[in-house]
Symmetry: C2
Subunit: 350 residues, 2 copies
């Protein structure tokens, strides 16, 4: 019997799981494949987070410090689990660095992979310098200056294209990435705040600012920041004849007419793919994947956070597109489930 | 110091919190104002749940049995907390039945109140017998027969109107109720399954089947069940001149033309209001409410499930419109946070 929970992945879900486990009196071993903790918000350099409005480096940074300062968490960076032996209550994980970790339960907080816009070539990413992804735009916002990479000019008009790598059967992405609408509405406001002379247009199929994000993001971005929402199907992104501006061509689905609007900067709101490591994760940990390639979830009512394998739990975007807030919540849930397993073993032994 | 967590509310969030607490070795006291456990899915007689497809009475029933059979949970039904004294680690709650419960931490799983369609009178509820709410329609599906209440006939055409009591500033509901789109797409499929000759139309502003609900509900309901989605702003629901059919009048926002379509049955997809008891809950427990009247949440990164008061946690739709699945997850998170408080007290005492 082990009093340790093995947590795989050092993003918001994994950091929460580790902190939750030690707060309740157990120990955690955290394995992260990169050499820094924090996951996508830190690795991709996100700007202000939804819905707190706090900078990613501060908010997630606080989560990282808490875990790094916790003597009950052993952190293994730049390491992966290559093998998992044993079963609930008595797992042994072998890491790429040769170390072994013994644990009573496992939490997978292995996250997602950003959609690569190269796979949507007709929308101009990789062809035109002034076509960026939301991740790159977040980095630009974090740098406090909005400009066109091609020549450094301040853009008069920015288009954010939603659902790039989401809701798109043609490229095998049937899912919605859940949070891009809200993140993009937030990004539009951040752009306007930094560059008041820039007008921001958001091209959408449906605006999915669910729950309390509705007035906080969708309404506010229109009413206070003059963001224009255009319901359209986009065909392609090309350039004007002088090559100075980008043309977004598509059909305005509200008036059923083709529209071509010139922009200085075009931003792809990229979706969340299954972690490209999922086939390997599935094999190493013996957990099933659902049809899209995300980690499959157990029955939710009495086994939330469960995978298809006993003693192995999952949290965050590993199971499908997820917000940071919900990933954090799920990290604690997976921790609670793992601790219940450990507690059952303690009772059994006594 | 108490080893008990007081859980208020016996719906999916509260049931999960109580089960999570005892699974990890603590005790729970569950206080429910109604005389049965299960919350909205049981009290309102929901049919098959999203996304499991399992009947509410089975899925939630299993959660209820688990708690009722658990000797470490003391259940107080038909009771409310009228007073809470003390502080983290040493709370004493006084119940309406005069009993007192001592607890180290508190979890509020106090849920929401369904929007009352009477507050949207121009859409026909309360005026016409064949205008129902999704809750009533769920009950009809659970009874396995689709019919018009006015005369018992099988409806040729059913309209489901989304956003009734949601995204509607005129009636003070600025929020989106998050799950009605998905639940309605599911309901449309259930209607078609029970009554293949019935055509179902869903009137919407945006379809918000986020994440993996996109293909599982939105696409499937269109492709396999022929549900028709109409993007429209609805003006009113009236009757045909012979009074036999209902007329849904509005503007088709895709073609910008007024449309009037006759239906046999109209269903209001009602939203989630703050629990009507929230002002009282706020006072008794000393927790703040956010601007819409839901229970306010603490900073999410290191205090998920926190309220504005130390030692008091919250889970589920008490904080805003929420799905059953996420309410369950949040119940476990709140439990994990409460247990961390209890563990800190144990360490302090030893």
């Amino acid at each position: 019997m082990q009093e340790t929970v093995l947590v795989v992945g050092g993003g918001p879900a994994g950091l929460s799981a580790a902190a939750s486990v030690t707060a309740a009196g157990y120990k955690a071993a955290l394995v992260e494949k990169e050499d820094v903790l924090g996951g996508a918000p830190i690795l991709s350099g996100y700007a202000k987070l939804v819905p707190s409005g706090e900078w990613a480096k501060d908010a997630i940074g606080r989560m990282v410090s808490r875990v790094e300062d916790d003597s009950n968490v052993t952190v293994h960076k730049a390491a992966k689990v290559t093998q998992l032996d044993g079963e609930t209550g008595d797992f042994t994980a072998t890491l790429t660095n040769g170390e072994q970790v013994k644990a009573g339960a496992v939490v997978l907080g292995t996250g997602f992979t950003h959609f690569d816009s190269i796979n949507k070539p007709e929308w101009g990413f990789g062809t035109y310098e002034d076509v960026l992804t939301t991740t790159q735009m977040e980095q630009m916002v974090a740098g406090s200056k909005i400009f066109c990479p091609s020549d450094g000019r301040i853009p008069e008009r920015v288009a954010i294209l939603l659902c790039v790598g989401s809701r798109d059967r043609q490229i095998g992405r049937e899912w919605c990435s859940k949070i891009c609408c809200t993140v993009s509405a937030n990004l539009a406001m951040e752009i306007k705040e930094l560059s008041p002379q820039t007008d921001v247009f958001i091209y959408y199929m449906d605006i999915r600012t669910f729950g309390l994000y509705e007035d906080k993001y969708y309404w506010k971005s229109q009413e206070e920041f003059k963001t224009k929402f255009v319901k359209a199907r986009i065909a392609e992104v090309t350039t004007s004849s002088d090559g100075r501006r980008l043309h977004v061509k598509g059909e305005d689905t509200l008036v059923k007419r083709p529209i071509v609007i010139p922009f200085d900067l075009v931003v792809h709101a990229i979706g969340m793919d299954p972690n490209e490591d999922n086939p390997e994760i599935s094999k190493v940990f013996g957990v099933g994947l659902e049809k899209h390639g995300f980690i499959d979830r157990a029955e939710q009512y009495t086994n939330p956070g469960g995978t298809t394998r006993r003693g192995i739990y999952v949290a965050g975007a590993a199971t499908g597109p997820e917000s940071i807030d919900d990933s954090i919540t799920q990290g604690h849930t997976a921790a609670a489930r793992a601790m219940a397993d450990l507690n059952a073993l303690v009772r059994q032994a006594s």
